[in-house]
Structure formats: C-alpha cells, structure tokens
Amino acid sequence: MSYTRPKFRHPELIKNKLGYTVDYYEGALSTLCAGCGHDSISAGIIQACYELSIEPHRLAKLSGIGCSSKSPAYVLSNSHGFNSVHGRMPSVATGANLANKDLIYLGVSGDGDTASIGMGQFVHVIRRNLNMLYIVMNNGCYGLTKGQDSATADQGSKNKTGNINLFEAIDLASLSLELGATFVAQSFSGDKTQLVPLIKAGLKHPGFAFINVISPCVTFNNNVGSTKSYDFVREHIAATSTIDFVPEMTEITAKYDEGTTKKVKMHDGSFISLNKLSQDWDPLDRLSAVTAIHNARAKNEILTGLLYVNPDCNDLHQMLRTCDKPLNTLLKSDLCPGASMLNEINADLR
C-alpha cells in the first residue's frame, strides 16, 4: 500500500457530462493489502460512476464489516457512507432507501459479511427487491482475522495454512437467482472490461442488483489449491457474454455478429447490450440462468457476466405504494393529523 497519493493528474483527463474528471470520484487512500482484488473493484466503481455521470452526493454507500466493507471509504468521498456492523448492511440500506427513494444505494459486502453472519438479511433484502446495487467482494476467506475459510470457500480447496475446506460452498449467484433477485451478475476483480459495464448496469437497475465478484485475497487465499486465487480463477473462468452498458439510445450493435447480440432495455431508456458467448442461455430467463450456472459448476468453471435481469420489476417502494416524494422530505403538514382530528379520536374512545 502507498501512504500518499500523488496530487498530479493528467491535464487532459476527459470530463464527463457533469464536467467532472474521474479523480472527482475517488475516495480516501486504501489501507488494504497491495494487490488486493477489492481495490480493483473499487476502481471499477469509480470508473462506472464517472462514466454514468452520477453526482457523488446523490449516492449513498453502505457496508458491513470486513476488508470489503472498508472499501466504500476508498471511493466517492463526496458521498455519505455508512460502515455499519457485521452482516447488517442490508437492513441499514433498506431503512435508508425507505427514507429517501431519490438517492442511489451502493452496498458493498464480503463473503463472510453476506454468506455467514449476514445471510438472513441478504436473503430478505433480495425478497424485497430493494432498489440498490449489492456487490460482494468474494475472496473465500476472512482476511482481517487472518485467513479462516468462509462459507463461499469451495469444498476441498486448500487455504494458506494447508487446511482443506470440508464443507460445501454457498454459491451466492445461484442462491440469489433462486430467491428471485431481479439482476444477478458474476465477475472477477481482474476483469475490469467486464466489471465496469456490470456495475453501471447494476446501478441503473430499478430493483435489487447483485454482483458476486471473485476477488482474490493476495495475503491469505492466493495460494496453490485455492479456488479463489488469481491463477485458478483466470484458468477456470467462462463468460456468458461480453457486456456493454449504454446509458442512452446509442446503437452499438454493429460491433457484434448478427444473432448473438441481446439488447435489454432498462426503464430509463438505457440499454444493456450483451454479446452472447454461450448460446444455450438467455439473460431474461431465470431458469436458463440457473441451469447455466449449474452446468458451469459441473465443469469446474466460474460463469461470469450478466446471468439474469428482469428490467420490468417493481421495487420495494412500488410494492409498498409509498408517495412520490421521498419520505424524509415530508413535513409536519403532510404527516400530522392535527388537534381537531385528535379530538375526534378522543370522542370515539369515550
């Protein structure tokens, strides 16, 4: 890790639609280990927000506890952040989102934070289709406590101390598909080309967007025998498609061969453009996505890309029929029935 970040920026950095250069989206200096996959994902978040021309203060970043959950501090310093407690980010994000539907919510979690201590909240935030992007930085181990296996470590994989993991791994992508998540993607921290469009699409998805990002732990889980190491992942990765996220109605289909391109229209008029590498899979069909993941696992492959999306979903606010204005902007005049009504209530109780 570095202790200082040079202030110098290339004078010709390109400005986005808001007039900001990419450095405007940076956060505090990372205190994670040098080479940590999480920092690459953070860089992807910065790039995605920059490319989407998001006002940083209109985004709220939330996390739980662990290496991954520290990372929101390293992006978007003009955003409010909330580093909550272990495994409880989904509930805090739910409350925050209920209070103000107008902000963008980015949740960052880890495999321990999500698949173990936070499993209860994770599955329920999916059920509620909370409008947020939920990224798991998945390294299969507990870094801050020095490398214990997590619940996503593959059965039979070997950690740094040589212990073989005895237990079946929890596959978060399959699980979220089963639970009805409306946007499920999987990626690798070392594949920025794939990751950035996925993050952009996830941020724009009008419901719960889940991205499981395999993010090797360089210190505790990058050894031979680990299925979450850089080498293993690079050798076993299989992509569903190449993806591009197009914020507006720009036609870019020409890039791809006829018949292999799938365009998914989002609510705000933007597109996800997928160049399908796998022909036996349809990103709008939950069943085919489930099958594709299972097939990949059987072949010892990690399937990446946008696995499933349902752009026409109702988020929690729509299900609850909350008012159009954010609840945190309502005034006493909107909320308090007043004294004369209370007198009527009293009369009914006599």
């Binding site: 909330f82 994000a93 989102n97 902000l103 329920h124």
Partner: protein, 624 residues
C-alpha cells in the same frame, strides 16, 4: 346496611373464558358500559400464549374511589370454562358469587358452602334461540352480559347504545345481540333475587377521560410525531403498537386520489433487521421507530450500540413482558430496565422513558422522536404488557397544533456553504451534541463516513487514543445535557412531609397511589415521586437525599431500578428499600402496603431503629 353501601361501585368481577371463543368483545361491552355510566373501571386480560383452547381470564375492577390498579379478592366469577372451573370456584372470595353454565348439573367438587351460585343454562338457552353453531357459541357470551346487567343494575340503554356503535354499518347484527342480552337478563328476573349487594350506580366520575390501551396510544403517537418508517418483528406484547400505527396511518396518511402512502412499514425478518432499518432510515433523515419486547431487545443490543456510538436517532418502544428468555410471554413485568439502560457492549447508556398511562404513551412517544433526534441517540420507551395490551381509563390525548418537530442539529446546503470545514463530531456548542447532515445534501460539503469504529472529530477513522477518548468523553457530556432535557419526574408533594419516600414508575402508578391512601389510613405518611425518564435528573437525587428511607417499587425480581439509582446517583445502599412484585401479574396496592408496613415494622424493631429515629428527629427539626 353498610355492607350493601360499601359494595356499590366497588368490586371485582373475573370472567373465566376459553381463548378464541369470542368472549373478548362481550367482556369489553361489560367494561365499557360501566365506563359509560361514569364509574371508574379497569379491566385486565390474563391470557395464555395460545391461539385457541386454553383458559383466559378477564378481570374487571370497579372502583368508586377511582383506584385503577389490580385488586386481589374476586367478588364475582363468571365461569364459562370447564377446564379452569375448579380453580375458578376456589378464587371467589367468601360471600362472593359464582355464575356458571347450568346446562349440566354442577359436580359436587365445585360446591363451596361459603359462596353463592348463580346457575344459568347458557348452552341450552343459546341452542334453543339460535341455529348457527357459531352464533350459539358467541351469544353465550352476550347472554351472560345480559344476566350481569340484571344482577348489577347496568343500564340496559347503555348496553344497547354500545352495541349500536359496535355494529355501525352492520346494523343487521344488532337485534340478535339485543335478544341475547334480554335472554340473560330475563332469566335472572325470573329465577334470582336482583340486584345483588354488589352492583353499580351511575356516577359522574369519568369526566372527559377516554378508554384505550397503551399500544394503540403509542401507535397514534408515532403518527402524530411524524414517523414515516416503521420496521418491526412480531412479538407479544408489542405487536399491536405497529398494528395501531398502521391502522392510523392508513386512515390519515394515504392520498385519497392516488392511494399512495406517506409512510412505509416493513415486517422485518428479525429484530436485528428491524432496528437496522430504523437506524438506516433515521440516518437518512426520516423519523423511524420499532416496537418489540424483551427477547427482541436482547437481539437489538448490537445495533443499539452502533446507534449510540455512531450517534443516530433511534426510537424503540419496548413493551416489557415476563423474562428471562421466553419467560411468560403473556404476563407483565418491568424487567428490561438494566438491559435497556446499558444495551450493547462497551460503555453505553441509553435514554429511557417510562409511561404510566395511555396519555403518557402518546405524549412520550412524540417526545421520544424529539429527544432521539435532538440528542442523536437511541431512546427506548419502556412500557409493559399491562399498559400496552389492557384498556385503561386515561386523560384524553392532547395536541398543540403549534408544536413543531424538533429535528435536532442538522446542517442544510446553505448552512454548509457558510462553514469552512464540516466536522461531524465537533462539539461546536459545547453541549456534547454535534451537527449532522443528511446524505444527498451538498455536492462537495457535509459528506462523512458513519461508522461504529472510533473516529476523530471529522469522522475519519482513527485508532488514536486521544481522539477516542475525546469522543467518548463528549458522549458523556451529551449524556449530562440529556439530564435537563428528558421529562422530569412527578413529585407528589410541594414540601416533604415524611422521612419516608416512595419511588415508582410505569404501571405501578395506580397501585402505588392507592397504597399511599392505605398507608395514610394507618397513619403512615409517605412522600412520593414517579420517575418518567432516565438519565435521572436532579430532582430524583434531591428526593433521595431528603428522605431517610426510600421505598423503590418495581415489578421485577432483581430490583433493577434500585440498582440503576445506586449506579447513577449518590445514595446509600441501605437507604433504598425494594418493594417488589414479579409473579407476572400487575402489582396491587395491598401488596405494596403490606411490604412497606412490614419493612417499617422491621426497621423500628431492628438496631437501625435508633439510627432512623435519630435522623428522624433531626429531619423533623429541619422541616419544622
């Protein structure tokens, strides 16, 4: 003569029913009729943790003198539950009455020589009068209310009026109910001497009071307080808080044209999640709350610590029940005090509020939001099952339309533009309360990282001992600020009259006040104070300082309030004497009276006597 007079408007009726048989509305009809006749009345549900089939009791105390606590000694039992009949027969006071379903002959084991039996063939009458099996079951309850009306001289017009209100919009149901009432009354007129020596007589003692349960009052208070996000997990006895909030919000907060709601309610997956949602919503500038009970409070500990340390307003209504663990889920206790006061690991303290009646449930719920937002900390309201789930006579609710919500110290975009550097945890006003910002306020100013980890004044992560200590010391400064802001206790006397004081809170109020009268009748004078909040303000310390002995009345085994007083105030351990009740039933005046008189007797016969007397003389000389 005196016997009859004494028993007018002064007796206890206990209904022994089977859970899930529709007895609740009939029993409430009985209570409400007495209330409408201007007579003080207090009902208590004694019910099982069960949906259908187990015994449930409904105890109604009628008190001309306005004593609304529970009273021992049952004058009249309405027995419609064979399962509990043996115990129910035994529970009648000598000379009392036992009303039972005489459709079948009463077995010898139920016969006592010292009580009076009123047999009414409820089942046979209903089978004859109604054909629908459900009606036969339901109207048995109304038939016995009609019989009681005849026996106690409850005004029939009042009962009919109440039925009219109950079935407003379903008027078809009224005649069948009136018929059932008349069936019961006519049977009494034809077969028994009436009225009884215990009976009611119209009075004008209710004034403009209302009758409502505490949980509904809390739910209504949350609507008036402007709460927009409620997150909860079902748990007896708190469930009806959010249900009431929902019902009132559906009435007052739904746009009539669009159907859209100015509120959001989430039934969470557990209490951890419920309080997490409250914290998230409050952090983001909405007024938010949850309601729970002991087991939920245990689960919420972790996140309460986060809210305390990260300084996020959090409102939690804890309707206490009998612990520990699952305890007796449908019985009352005041046993979450220490758990709530110091919830979570590390050095934590939380603001507590102790309502005693429905009006205070309403008022303190509203106050809880103002306090939580002003102090940026959790506020836990400690009500209990007795207050929350039973109907109580209460002063009517009041609302001042000029009252504004106190949202606390919040910087908006304009305010941020006027400061050089925003420090989330800077003690600008020297009261321990720093300024906060809502997410999304300003493009470049006011953002910060909220965390449960240690941080400096500018919210930057820090493991520096100095920064840590400055922060936790500021939290204590804030705590001291709170002492002058939280609701002050009720002190019963302008000037002390006794060396003895009694201290109580919450639902012990009615019985404690009655006990004061009982003690006065025995020429024992006591001063009294009722605590409404924690941290304790100076009045509480003064009350303890200015009495030789203070009896601390509370409804738990371990004298938790006494412990809290000893921890937080300066007091001699022996000065505070516990008066405890922890069997799950609401405390009675008789119980308080007996414990206090026994303690005073033993004080006078023990070596403490000289000390007490000596100080008494000294005190007398001061007060004289």
């Amino acid at each position: 003569m005196s016997l009859i007079e004494n028993k007018v408007n002064d007796f206890v009726v206990r209904f022994a029913n089977v859970n899930g048989t529709g007895s609740a509305s009939a029993n409430f009809l009985f209570t409400k009729a007495i209330f409408r006749m201007g007579i003080p009345v207090t009902p208590k549900n004694i019910f099982p943790s069960n949906i259908q089939g187990l015994p449930t009791w409904y105890e109604v105390r009628i008190s001309e003198k306005g004593y609304l606590g529970r009273r021992e000694g049952i004058d009249f039992v309405v027995s419609v539950n064979p399962q509990s009949m043996l115990n129910d027969v035994q529970s009648v006071k000598a000379g009392g009455y036992f009303l039972y379903d005489s459709s079948k002959k009463l077995h010898d084991q139920y016969i006592r020589q010292d009580i009076n039996y009123i047999g009414i063939p409820l089942m046979l009458m209903c089978n004859e009068a109604y054909t629908d099996p459900r009606q036969r079951q339901l109207f048995k309850n109304i038939v016995y209310v009609g019989a009681l009306a005849a026996l106690f001289e409850i005004e029939f017009d009042v009962l009919e009026e109440l039925l009219g209100e109950q079935f407003k919009g379903k008027e078809k149901l009224i005649p069948a109910n009136v018929k059932a009432l008349k069936l019961g009354a006519d049977y009494i007129y034809a077969n028994f001497k009436y009225p009884l020596d215990i009976r009611v007589e119209r009075r004008n003692l209710i004034g403009n009071s209302i009758m409502i349960d505490g949980n509904s009052a809390c739910g209504l208070g949350a609507v008036y307080a402007g709460a927009t996000v409620a997150a909860w997990y079902p748990i007896t006895p708190s469930t009806s808080v959010v249900e009431a909030y929902n019902a009132y919000a559906e009435e007052f907060r739904v746009n009539k044209i669009t159907g859209k709601k100015n509120f959001a309610i989430i039934q969470a997956e557990d209490e951890l999640s419920a309080i997490g949602m409250v914290i998230g919503a409050s952090w983001n500038g909405a007024r938010s709350f949850t309601a729970s009970s002991g087991p939920g409070l245990s689960l919420m500990n972790e996140l309460l610590g986060l809210a305390y340390f990260a300084e996020i307003p959090t409102v939690l209504i804890d309707v206490q029940r009998t612990g520990p663990s699952t305890g007796m889920p449908t019985r009352t206790q005041q046993s979450d005090i220490l758990e709530a006061a110091y919830a979570s690991h590390g050095d934590t303290k939380h603001v507590l509020l102790f309502p005693s009646n429905p009006k205070e449930c309403f008022d303190l719920t509203v106050d809880a939001f103002d306090l939580a937002e002003y102090l940026q900390t959790p506020v836990i309201m400690l009500t209990d099952l007795d207050l929350g789930m039973n109907d109580h006579i209460s002063e009517p609710f009041e609302w001042d339309d000029k009252r504004e919500y106190n949202r606390g110290k919040i910087l908006d975009a304009a305010a941020l533009d006027n400061i050089v550097k925003f420090g989330r945890y800077l003690d600008v006003d020297n009261d321990g309360i720093a300024y906060r910002t809502y997410p999304g306020t300003h493009p470049t100013k006011g953002s910060f990282f909220t965390r449960g980890t240690s941080r400096d004044e500018y919210a930057t992560y820090s493991e520096d001992s100095g920064a840590y200590k400055r922060n936790v010391d500021r939290l204590i400064k804030k705590w001291n600020t709170a002492k002058d802001i939280v609701p002050a206790p009720q002190v019963y006397q302008d000037k002390n009259k006794s060396e003895y004081g009694i201290l109580f809170f919450g639902t012990s109020q009615c019985s404690a006040e009655e006990a004061i009268d009982l003690l006065n009748q025995k020429k024992i004078i006591v001063d009294a104070i009722r605590i409404k909040s924690f941290p304790f303000n100076k009045t509480v310390q003064d009350f303890i300082d200015s009495h030789e002995k203070v009896f601390v009345i509370e409804q738990n085994r371990d004298a938790q309030m006494k412990s809290l007083l000893l921890i937080e105030l300066v007091a001699n351990h022996q000065k505070l004497i516990s008066v405890l009740n922890y069997d799950g039933m609401p405390i009675t005046a008789e119980n308080i009276f007996n414990q206090i008189t026994n303690q005073i007797l033993s004080l006078k016969s023990s070596p403490l006597k000289e000390e007490a007397n000596g100080k008494k003389n000294k005190q007398n000389s001061i007060t004289n």
